[in-house]
């Protein structure tokens, strides 16, 4: 019976997603809005197909946890450390300023001081799930707006803990009421009833377990699983890691999402990063979808219909206040107008943590029951506004970057050579190889570029070469060579890494941006690395020498000597670089540069045929004179 109910529920949710998301996508609305609308449709207000949306919500929150794990995977500890200013500066400013502004508005609307403050804190939260999903879909996570948004969201996730601690103090009678510290965890937590210092120790211990466990246990474990060569077990291990981390954090009353994020960061520089990423991503996507459907289903349409003006006023006021505060903060962080606006819009909704905090606040009798219901409806509704605002932003304010989530083409040929990226560099490689009669399979991820090139008669396939399944589909398992000619540094490194790990027999020739990137790509497993501007620069130098009157052959030879010297320099510096000693690197670089001038000068003297001898003429001439 229970299994039946589960099947019915699953079918309903999946069906809603399958029907509404493609429609939303086709209409250019993005998947988040599609899920939300699907939720409204199957929810009690319209079709009434699902009832207990809260249960589903609980499962679906795991999607948020996974998303933060994936975000952590993208973020090496050093990068995270570098972000600390943005996280605490921008994030702190956002939470404090937004909470204050919202609280003021609430007081003006007639609320008491303590409840107004609580409302301010609750509504200051934005939706990590929605923002990251929406930005990732548009490929904006690495943009200035994406990074700022992420920093603020990270701070909010951290801030939930102190907010939960402060909340009970706002209760009437100051600190009365039942304040189970981890009220969002159903069964209570290990820290309940412990004295403060012990609780703090336990929290530290939990974080320590995640960090050390990630370093010492998970890596060897993943290694062993990878050797098993059973994909599903590897996937299970990755899922277990996320679930386990979430459990540990929850048991000490911390945000599971924060724990997963931490676990992700710990594994960010592991060699299995991309593998884990590809394994978890589909689960994350599905659960997040479920999450948004649950949010949609939870929207209390009847309440909204009963008090439409109140709800609309709250939603509009909150979104406006949040956006205004965020815009000011983003501008102060030197983002340009468009990026600041995008940040402001992206974070303008109220987040899923608000559901938890509202429940917690009403439990503590800080918020009256009807106000809590009104706020819950407003939170859900505010999530509907963001996708719409983002669409408007794209239409009118941004540089019209179109969302690019077209599926990869089916590849029907098997060639010995695969070229990833067919831009300025890839085309040269491709034309030369094709000209030589070497058939190549070309992968390109820029739809416009693709269409343009197809008009010129090139056969190309659309797809993201970072995905090992696409490489597999392109025949990487049987191919002899992969040429990675993509423009973006990180993309190139990722493709090389993925290809090297999944297809050990494949030779890889990769394009590098500069010397440091060349080392990076080498370490990722490329067999040959070509710096993209190297030969071009040498050619410009050679042509310059010719314009200065140096004969072509001599100029060319100087260029070739420079080329050899620089490649040797790469070898020398590679060794020094491994030591991580910046001073030694700089010194070695200067030494090599001095050496270069002596190498180039000497060559001028030893080029054969100074005067007509073919040998070292000056000495010979003296010898001849001596004879004569």
């Amino acid at each position: 019976m229970a299994a039946d109910a589960l099947l019915v529920q699953s079918a309903t949710y999946l069906g809603a997603a399958v029907v509404s998301v493609p429609i939303a996508e086709r209409l250019g609305l993005g998947s988040v809005l599609g899920y939300l609308v699907a939720g409204v449709m199957v929810g009690p207000a319209v079709l009434g197909l699902v009832s207990g949306a809260e249960d589903v919500m609980h499962v679906a929150e795991f999607g948020v946890v996974m998303m933060l794990f994936l975000v952590g995977l993208e973020l090496q500890p050093s990068k995270l450390w570098a972000m600390r200013g943005a996280v605490f500066g921008l994030g702190g400013a956002q939470v404090v300023a937004t909470a204050a502004a919202v609280a003021l508005a609430a007081v003006a609307a007639g609320l008491g001081l303590a409840p107004a403050f609580a409302v301010g804190l609750i509504l200051a939260m934005s939706s990590t799930a929605m923002v990251l999903q929406a930005l990732a879909e548009k490929g904006l996570l690495k943009s200035p707006a994406g990074e700022t948004s992420f920093a603020v969201l990270l701070f909010q996730d951290i801030a939930v803990i102190p907010i939960l601690a402060v909340m009970p103090l706002l209760a009437p009678g100051g600190g009365g009421g039942d304040h189970g510290a981890g009220a969002h965890a159903d069964g209570g937590t290990l820290v309940d009833g412990l004295p403060g210092w012990a609780a703090a120790l336990l929290v530290l211990a939990a974080v320590g377990v995640i960090v050390l466990g990630g370093r010492l246990v998970m890596r060897p474990l993943f290694m062993a699983m990878a050797r098993l060569r059973m994909r599903e077990i590897f996937t299970a291990t990755a899922l277990l890691l996320v679930a386990g981390t979430a459990l540990i954090m929850e048991s000490v009353g911390l945000s599971p999402a924060l724990g997963a994020f931490l676990a992700g960061v710990v594994l960010a520089d592991s060699e299995f990063r991309h593998e884990i990423e590809t394994d978890i991503a589909p689960f994350k996507g599905l659960l997040l979808g479920l999450f948004f459907i649950a949010v949609g289903a939870g929207i209390q349409i009847d309440l909204i219909l009963a008090r439409p003006l109140a709800v609309a006023a709250i939603v509009l006021a909150v979104v406006a206040i949040k956006a205004a505060v965020l815009y000011a903060i983003a501008r102060s962080a030197r983002l340009n107008r468009s990026d600041a606006l995008l940040t402001a819009i992206a974070l303008s909704q109220i987040g899923e943590f608000a559901f938890v905090l509202i429940g917690f606040a009403s439990q503590n009798r800080i918020l009256a029951g009807d106000l809590a219901a009104l706020l819950t409806a407003s939170v859900a509704l505010s999530m509907l506004t963001t996708p719409i605002l983002l669409i408007l932003f794209e239409r009118f304010a941004s540089g019209a970057e179109t969302a690019d989530d077209r599926p990869a083409d089916a590849i029907d040929e098997r060639n010995r050579v695969i070229i990833a990226g067919f831009g300025r560099v890839g085309q040269i490689v491709g034309r030369l190889l094709i000209g030589r009669g070497v058939p190549v399979t070309v992968l390109e991820h820029d739809a416009e570029q693709l269409e343009a090139l197809r008009r010129f008669g090139f056969k190309l396939y659309y797809g993201d070469a970072r995905r090992h399944d696409l490489l597999e589909a392109a025949g990487a398992a049987e191919a002899a060579l992969l040429v990675v000619a993509t423009d973006d540094k990180e993309t190139t490194t990722e493709i090389v890494e993925t290809a090297r790990r999944n297809f050990p027999g494949l030779k890889i020739v990769a394009r590098a941006y500069d010397r440091p990137h060349a080392y990076e790509v080498e370490e990722a497993g490329a067999d040959r690395v070509v710096r993209e501007t190297f030969e071009g620069g040498i050619e410009m130098a050679t042509e310059s020498l010719r314009v200065l009157g140096v004969p072509a052959f001599e100029a060319n030879r100087l260029g070739r000597i420079f080329r050899r010297h620089d490649i040797e320099t790469m070898d020398v510096l590679r060794v020094v670089r491994k030591t991580g000693d910046r001073d030694a690197y700089g010194l070695a670089f200067r030494q090599r540069r001095e050496m270069l001038s002596s190498v180039l000068t000497r060559d001028v003297q030893t080029v054969p045929g100074t005067d007509d001898s073919g040998w070292d003429a000056e000495t010979l001439r003296r010898e001849s004179r001596g004879e004569g």
Partner: protein, 185 residues
């Protein structure tokens, strides 16, 4: 009708050449001579075979001017021979493209003439040392001319260089206006 002359010039470091530059300047001034600087045209040694073959077909006499390096020509001349004088085109049963054209070597040597004798430092005469080129011309059905040689460039004075240039000009004019001479050494 005057013969059209193709001057294949090969010197890897023309800027520091005295004699060969003077010879080249002299040749450039002779009407009917096409100067073709191999090192300047192909600094990367990527010789365009089609273009070279067309040039050969367009001319009646080919003069290959270079300093004598290690009793032979600078490397690019050898590369040129390997690629341009194709089997089936320049030699072989059907290779008759160059038949009847004239081939002449114009070389400079650092040593004195006396050094190129049986009893000299180099033990062989220039004629003997240039045998590979003579045999090449023969195989390609071309008419071999006695080489033009400038000796003792190490110690050449300006007047001697001028004289060499004049002699070279006269030789080219004769080649242009006269009829090819079959030589038997």
């Amino acid at each position: 009708m005057p013969h059209k002359i193709l001057l294949l010039f090969a010197h890897p470091s023309i800027r520091r050449s005295r004699v060969n530059r003077a010879l080249l300047d002299a040749a450039s001034a002779v009407a009917g001579v096409t100067v073709h600087d191999l090192y300047e045209t192909y600094p990367d040694f990527a010789i365009d075979v089609d273009r070279e073959q067309r040039l050969l077909l367009d001319h009646d006499a080919i003069v290959c001017q270079h300093p004598l390096f290690w009793y032979s020509a600078p490397a690019i001349v050898r590369e040129w021979q390997d690629l341009v004088l194709e089997h089936g085109w320049a030699y072989g049963r059907h290779g008759r493209a160059l038949e009847g054209k004239t081939w002449m070597q114009a070389v400079s040597t650092g040593g004195r003439e006396g050094a190129y004798r049986e009893d000299g430092l180099n033990r062989y005469s220039i004629d003997e040392l240039l045998r590979p080129f003579e045999a090449t011309a023969h195989l390609c059905h071309m008419v071999w001319q006695r080489p033009f040689v400038v000796h003792a460039t190490h110690v050449a004075e300006a007047a001697e260089i001028d004289a060499a240039a004049d002699a070279f000009r006269a030789r080219l004019v004769a080649l242009r206006d006269g009829s090819p001479v079959r030589v038997v050494v």
